[in-house]
Amino acid sequence: MRAASYGLGAAGQAAVSPLLEMLEQTEWSNGSSAACARRILHALGEAAERVSLSDVAGVAAAYDCCCAELKRYEATLTAWPLHNWDEPAEAAGKSGDIFAA
């Protein structure tokens, strides 16, 4: 996927329309689809030589979808999704009185 991303990024303006089309078809349903979107966005930035309003609109739409998915993702969490909390109570979201001495 990374190699394809770099290849399309080097392809120039001709790659912009297919990249935007692929971006529009992103399902945003799992890590793999999000990773694809990330690679497409990276390639799009490299490939575009003459940036148009529709290019910007395509990126804006993808960003909106990503933010909306982040909100849904947050709602599915039952505890802090963090791997560097070092106390079981923190991982369970029981922070208690944080300013207590």
């Binding site: 799992n30 890590g31 966005l41 990276h42 003459r50 609109a57 960003y63 963090l82 944080i98």
Partner: protein, 145 residues
């Protein structure tokens, strides 16, 4: 944790100075944060070309999205993820590119843009005019045409 002074303990929980940078532990959440950052990287690459081409119309279309990324509350846990911070930094860079290139005539339209992330890594104010002294913990940046 119990040995930490109360203030340090509070800082850790409220996500300000000294907090451990955190990010989602699962692939989906991490990828979503990286997509947000990469979208801003894409716009930053666009900004270089837009500024070089002096395309004010496209620059005007890009600015609200960049400002939104910098100023709006983070969705989900993006604020605490390092990629969320990175997205804001890249968005600010893209705005600077628009301000400093041939599209610099838009500076007055892009100011004041204040990135007010509260972890100290992203305190920037874009202003025109004379360089002003830092105040209220914010760093003012003068953009010269």
């Amino acid at each position: 944790m119990d040995a930490l002074p109360a203030q340090a303990k509070g800082l850790r929980y409220t996500g300000t100075a000294g907090v451990i940078q955190s990010e989602p532990a699962d692939e989906f959440g991490a990828e979503l944060h990286m997509v947000a950052a990469t979208a801003m990287q894409c716009l930053s690459a666009f900004a270089e070309k837009v500024a070089a081409a002096d395309d004010a119309e496209v620059a005007r279309a890009m600015a609200p999205l960049l400002m939104r990324c910098i100023l709006e509350p983070e969705p989900g846990y993006q604020f605490e993820a390092r990629h969320g911070t990175h997205a804001r930094e890249v968005a600010a860079q893209a705005l600077l590119k628009l301000c400093c290139g041939k599209t610099s005539a838009l500076v007055s339209e892009l100011t004041p843009v204040r990135a007010d992330a509260s972890n100290g890594a992203m305190h920037s104010t874009f202003v025109t005019g004379e360089l002003s002294k830092p105040k209220d913990g914010l760093r003012n940046v003068t953009l010269l045409n």
